[in-house]
């Protein structure tokens, strides 16, 4: 299982590989795109992209020199016809210079790339919200090589998909990304913070009401208030615990390290570190953290030893016990109430089928 990590500058490539990343991904904003479409948003990000195609060429060479592969992100939810034409040209140039795969969400772009740049591998972005075997099968039939699963899938679902679609590589989130809504069905713009920022953390003054306009009893109102406070706390975790780190620089925030043994056993191709716009030091520490856990897993240690390593890297048990920092909270570290000893909690309440 590989570590797939973000870069936003070519100077990051060599240290990221040295820290343990085998696969790198990046965006690029060609000046011709800005000139034609009057936006820098080729891939949903204004920031954290390489500035031009010359830098992209250098990035490919540097990554390959270090033994890593480089993927190009073209993952807006959707593009217009003119945009698709330009992106196909961009992808063709990327392939000609040895680029390894493009990360794509828009179905039109996937179809166009398969037809016009057949030699270039396609990875379906998490933005495509692909979280069932039938969808993976459709993408396989369209010629994609890998599917990046969205956040908020459960480990059992990942294992099911991996077993039912063994001929498509799967990649799952392991660190750093924290959207509340599903990326593929959030039709908003990350506004500047003084205009509200991401809509999921915008300061909406919502009031509760009951169906039919009935009043909310005080007892329920208090419960809702307390619940809202819990939700705010969860949001804090979701957004990187305020982008804090340990003293050693290991980042807090959404984390799936404890799931690594299950993902490895299921045959996943890679685990993904998010955060292209992040600081270089944060990215390097993220890779280092995942590498430590993967190395223990590869050494043949039992699952709990691997997870103990995962928790031990940051050594902040209160965060891990909360479950709020977990991508896959059905499996998390906590103190065993019966024995008083630290243990791994496997949530037994998880349901995987719709209610009847």
């Amino acid at each position: 299982m590989e570590i797939t990590a973000p870069i936003s500058h070519i100077d990051e490539i060599t240290p990221m590989i040295a820290a343990g990343a085998n696969e790198l991904y990046c965006g690029v904003v060609p000046p011709s795109w800005v000139a034609q479409f009057n936006t820098g948003a080729v891939n949903r990000r204004y920031f954290g992209n390489l500035p031009n195609l010359a830098e992209l060429e250098k990035a490919i060479a540097l990554a390959h020199a270090g033994g890593a592969r480089l993927f190009l992100v073209l993952n807006a939810q959707h593009y217009g016809s003119n945009q698709t034409e330009m992106l196909v040209k961009l992808a063709r140039g990327f392939a000609e210079h040895g680029g390894d795969a493009v990360i794509v969400a828009d179905m039109t772009l996937i179809i166009s790339l398969r037809a016009q740049v057949p030699e270039l591998a396609i990875h379906v972005s998490s933005v495509a919200s692909c979280r069932n075997s039938a969808a993976i099968g459709l993408y396989r039939d369209l010629g994609v090589h890998r599917v990046i699963l969205p956040r908020d899938v459960m480990i059992a679902e990942v294992v099911t998909m991996a077993h039912s679609m063994p001929d498509v590589e799967l990649e799952a989130f392991v660190l750093n990304d924290g959207c509340v809504f599903e990326e593929g069905v959030c039709h908003t713009v990350h506004l500047p913070s003084k205009q509200g920022g991401p809509i999921c953390v915008d300061s909406y003054d919502f009031h509760y009401s009951r169906r039919g306009g009935r009043a909310i009893p005080p007892r329920v109102a208090r419960r809702l208030h307390d619940h809202d406070e819990d939700y705010k706390r969860w949001l804090w975790y979701r957004f990187g615990c305020g982008f804090t780190t340990t003293e050693e620089g290991f980042p807090f925030g959404p984390c799936g390290l404890c799931a690594i043994p299950r993902f490895a056993a299921a045959g996943l191709a890679s685990v993904k570190i998010a955060g292209r716009e992040g600081a270089t030091a944060r990215k390097l520490k993220s890779v280092e953290m995942v590498r430590r856990v993967l190395d223990v897993q590869r050494s043949g240690e039992v699952e709990n030893a691997v997870r103990a390593t995962a928790v031990g890297v940051r050594n902040t048990l209160t965060h891990c016990q909360s479950g709020f920092m977990c991508y896959y909270p059905e499996l998390r570290w906590q103190v065993n109430a019966a024995t008083g000893n630290p243990d791994f909690h496997q949530c037994t309440a998880v349901v995987t089928a719709p209610d009847r």
Binding site: Q77, H78, T108, E182, C186, H187, C200
Partner: protein
């Protein structure tokens, strides 16, 4: 003016029961009945005087926990027969368990029923396994900017609807899809709904903005350690509790009142949007209106 199909979408089983209790003896439900049921002035603003209900949608596009029970589905089939309605099953983004449930449910739907697919896997499965059912591309497969906080139409031009890109029609045809469903984005013009070769349904008088899998209100009765996680048991609190900007609140950007229910945020159309929908319908760009409640 061409008379569009008129659909009503019902998620809450109690609302389906209320629809069943409507005391209208006619064989069809007209505008008056829909106004009585929805109690929403937008019905008058949107519907021609001689409009009548043609389609009944049942199920949720936003949550796997709201997949209709067998009893709810049986009632929907019964009501569709009573009022000569076409039935449509609305489905959400799916995990494998939802598709398994769909596989159980599909044989219970009358032949020719529609399934509103909001997941390419669902559409793919329908095409392969349920040829008697008609797949429709739901709004979550239609990508467009719908951020009510933006005060100008620039983003609509930067990222036009995915259906405007040329290869899409052929791809939809491959899945047997000839109808797509759309929301009304802020600053829409009737041309937003002009899609060659595809039937277009438009939902009103609300649009969805963003949808998650994590449900805040669905965690209300969970112990703290189990809150805000996928796949936990749900007590359907979303059917009873709505979050909304209060009446008279200063709304930003496009000036649309915003709501949150369950996993999803919504906005309500303003009068200008009603006008756009009416004009698009009159010009034959929209062939179905789907009325719904948030």
């Amino acid at each position: 003016m061409p008379l569009p199909d008129i659909a009503i979408s019902i998620v809450d089983p109690h609302r389906l029961t209320a629809l069943a209790a409507l005391a209208y003896p006619e064989r069809t439900l007209g505008r008056e009945a829909l106004r009585d049921f929805l109690r929403d002035p937008a019905v008058d603003a949107l519907l021609p005087a001689d409009a009548h209900l043609s389609h009944l949608y049942v199920g949720s596009e936003y949550c796997e926990h709201l997949f209709p029970s067998d009893a709810t589905l049986a009632l929907a089939v019964q009501l569709a027969e009573r009022w000569s309605l076409h039935l449509a099953l609305a489905t959400p983004i799916a995990c494998d368990a939802v598709i398994a449930r769909l596989a159980e449910t599909a044989p219970r739907l009358p032949a020719g029923s529609e399934v509103i697919a909001n997941d390419w896997g669902v559409a793919h499965w329908l095409h392969a396994h349920a040829p008697a059912l008609i797949p429709v591309a739901g709004r979550q497969l239609a990508k467009m900017i719908k951020d009510p906080r933006i005060g100008n139409p620039a983003w609509l031009k930067v990222y036009p609807s995915n259906y405007e890109a040329s290869p899409f029609g052929a791809f939809l045809a491959r899945l047997g899809i000839v109808r797509v469903e759309l929301d009304v984005p802020p600053f829409a013009t009737p041309e937003v709904f002009a899609l060659d070769g595809l039937g277009v349904s438009v939902w009103a008088p609300y649009a969805y903005i963003a949808k998650g899998r994590i449900c805040k209100i669905g965690s209300l009765r969970q112990p703290l350690a189990e809150k805000f996680a996928s796949g936990r048991p749900c007590h359907h609190e979303c059917l009873a509790l709505l979050e909304a900007e209060p009446e008279g609140a200063v709304v930003r950007g496009a000036g649309l009142r915003t709501y949150s229910r369950g996993t999803t945020m919504f906005y309500r159309h303003d009068d200008a949007m009603h006008g756009v929908v009416r004009e698009a319908t009159e010009r034959g760009l929209v062939s179905r209106l789907v009325l719904w409640e948030v």
